[in-house]
């Protein structure tokens, strides 16, 4: 027998090595199991059973198995939602619960899922293959699924309306989008309330308020939530701010438009949809890509500009104020009619119109210092014009009074 040095560690080290071996085997089974244990395997089995029950085994055999995805190269979206939501294009499961429900077919006719994917409209994390990560809320994934339960958390009347935010990413220049009621309502409000008097929207508007063209891009951290109660989200901030601007930003000159909750929510959705999302040209076929004034609007403006109140149109006063006596009708009508300004300013501020224009207060001080800059000579003209308008107004009123008894 050759020389053999004793191996003093053998017994204990072999036991430790055995434990390590067991740990390695355990770890192998653990990660094998974690690979197998995915929800989609269960949902696919269940959906196949349902198809088999309803349409027979033969049909059930055509249900694809394994991870499924819709790849939208233009958007670089890989939407794996269809791994569980296999019923999307299977007619006959309209009444089933999710994820076994058929997708409403009408919208799919114009927006086929194969071309648009799922997350382009619904939000959520298309990469993920488990419900929790796909639907959210997930930390660090700020595109939550625009689900009804999310809508419910904001007490929306139409719980599913949040989806319209993503509709409007492509359809932002539409005057009206079929099926997007909330956004349509909001777009009408933007016109009626004259938001453009102060804000640039889609490239045109005033400079008193911030440019809103891409305000949906603004990071949630950039809003001041100190005066907002409830959810701390950009959306909630916009809803509250639209309802009562001064409650969130005390120094703002933005007026309270007395919007209803539904109106404020719809406007918030519209505002949040104004994002710089790259939309492939092919997605926009037929949709307008700019938001110009309509020919009617242009014509009306031209007519007013050449009429007796033309000066007020050229300076921009008409954006907020009508001068009805001179035939100028403001599209927004945020401020009072200037026909009676001579009298009105006196009664409101206790100052003459000359004095007020020289040193305006309140909203007008902001407007006249930031958007409409008038020289002293121009201010004199303004006073002159306002006096003429008032004289005209009184003349018209007298004529009306004369005409009224005659009619009687």
């Amino acid at each position: 027998m050759e020389k053999r040095t004793p191996a003093p560690f053998r017994k204990r080290d072999r036991a430790i090595l055995a434990v390590v071996g067991v740990a390695l085997i355990v770890s192998t089974f653990l990660f094998l199991y974690s690979y197998i244990a995915h929800d989609w395997r269960y949902y696919q089995g269940e959906f196949r059973n349902r198809v088999a029950q309803k349409f027979g085994e033969e049909k059930a055999a055509t249900v694809p198995s394994g991870l499924q995805q819709i790849w939208v190269p233009e958007l670089r979206h890989a939407d794996r939602c269809v791994s569980c939501h296999q019923a999307v294009s299977w007619k006959g499961f309209e009444a089933a619960e999710e994820p076994f429900r058929t997708h409403p077919q009408e919208i799919l006719r114009t927006h086929p899922a194969e071309r648009y994917g799922c997350t382009a409209c619904h939000g959520g994390q298309g990469y993920a293959i488990d419900a929790a990560e796909a639907h959210g809320p997930v930390a660090f994934w700020e595109e939550p699924l625009l689900s009804k339960s999310l809508g419910e958390s904001y007490s929306l009347a139409d719980k599913g309306a949040l989806l319209q935010m993503t509709c409007n990413v492509c359809h932002r220049y539409d005057r009206e989008t079929k099926g997007a009621d909330a956004v349509n309502l909001a777009k009408n409000l933007v016109r009626d309330k004259g938001c453009r008097a102060c804000h640039v929207v889609n490239g045109r508007g005033g400079s008193i308020g911030p440019d809103l063209t891409y305000v949906g891009e603004k990071a949630p951290e950039q809003y001041d939530y100190s005066r907002l109660s409830g959810q701390k989200t950009s959306f909630a901030w916009h809803v509250a701010h639209l309802k009562e601007p001064r409650a969130l930003v005390p120094e703002t000159v933005m007026p309270n438009f007395n919007l209803t909750t539904r109106e404020a929510q719809s406007l918030a959705m519209l505002v949040m949809s104004w994002r710089r999302s790259p939309v492939p040209a092919s997605f926009l076929a037929g949709a307008p890509r700019t938001d110009p004034q309509t020919p009617e609007e242009k014509e009306a403006e031209r007519r007013m500009a050449t009429g007796p109140g033309g000066w007020f149109v050229k300076t921009g006063c008409f954006v907020c104020h009508s001068i009805s006596a001179l035939g100028v009708k403001s599209p927004a009508q945020i401020g009072p009619d200037l026909s009676i300004a001579v009298e009105d300013v006196q009664s409101r501020f206790g100052r003459t119109i000359d004095d007020f224009l020289r040193a305006p207060t309140g909203t007008m001080s902001v407007v006249l210092s930031r958007q409409i800059i008038l020289t002293p000579e121009e201010k004199a003209i303004a006073v002159q014009k306002l006096r003429e308008a008032f004289a005209e107004h009184q003349k018209q009123k007298a004529a009306e009074q004369r005409a009224a008894p005659a009619r009687r």
Partner: protein, 441 residues
Amino acid sequence: METTGTAPGVHPKPLWSVAPDSDRQAGDAVVSNFVLHWFPAKALKDSLAWRYSLWLGTISAALLLLLTVSGLPLLFLHVPSVERAYGSVKDIEYVVTFGYWIRSVHRFAAHFMVAAVFLHLVRVFLTGAYKNGTGRGQHREWNWVIGVAMLLVTLFLSFTGYLLPWDQLAYWAVTVGTNIASAVPLAGPKIRELLIGGRTIDQPTLIRFSVMHVVLLPGLLGGLFAYHMWRIRKDGGLATADRAAALPARAEVPAGKTKTYTLLGIARGTGPTIRASSVEAPDTTVNSVPDLTRRAAIVTLGTMAFISILSVFVHSPLEEPANALVTPNPAKAPWYFLWLQEIVTDTTIKIGSFTVNGAFIGGVVLPGLLVVLMAAWPWLDRSPAAAAGRWFPQSRRTQNLVFLLIVLAVLVLTFVGTFCRGPYWGLYWPWQAWPELPTRI
């Protein structure tokens, strides 16, 4: 001769190299095996002790192996492009078979390697293992310098890997990290520009970091690692071996001949000489196969099992895609740089209009000083050779204490930066909830 037909090193028993019958077979197992050839045939029992080295170097090497093995599949899957990197990592996370596990193994191995290499360095310092003992031709001090370089390479490897997912975490950690680099006087902005390939973190940065992460730095680390191991052999093994040699033999053994190893003429002069009496004494030595190899296997496989199980349960984070316009709150450097970030914030003092540049102190002066001091320490350490290879020797008490205090400060600052810094870099207890951060919808 009876043995014709059996080539040297070929043995009749199939598992002879795992369970050798004799010292001769044990020696053959080391010499004839490519993987084992860097081991000595016999090792000192003391140098195998768990409590001496804590096997931290082997753990680091095991993690490096794991990183190489897990990095390879990731290399096939990750696309180092600004447009695609994030998506490719999401795909690894969600649809690649075992992808999330591979990624988690890679991430945990990287984080633990930073920790293991650091702790290894702490161990080597505390035991004075960079000190030369009784052998001739020892240059442990240079192996220590190599070790410091390897720590820096490890940190930089981890840091370059940080950017590759191209998510918010990556983008902003690298932003913070490279901004610290720009605080170097005069050359700072140039260094940053060279590092990130421009003035903003973009495609050039990603490809630079990617190449550094998968080619340059691993190659460098591999080279340094090989040299590190070779030096250990040349220096006569762990420092504790010298100590054993210096002590009187525990058992009466006849004094053996002095052996001199030469190195095929590559090394000049003679190699380190080890007193044969201690190395060959049966009480103080064991055969490398199987006693050393078994322990190496326990440590390597144990590290793998630990990382593997951890990776099944803890997934790697992946935040939103990188966005230069949105800064996460708080924006943190990788955790192992947080002590520096912490110092940067603590030394940024505004006195009126005059601002003390914290990035210069915390990001350049202090770490630079520490690295230089650390690398030069073997030459500054004047303690006797007998202090090498022992935990907390009396003669090195002061320097060990100071070193431990610095380590403690680094650990405390790292802890504060990692767990106690919340939004706007405010201080929060780890159990204290951060104020709710707003979201979009």
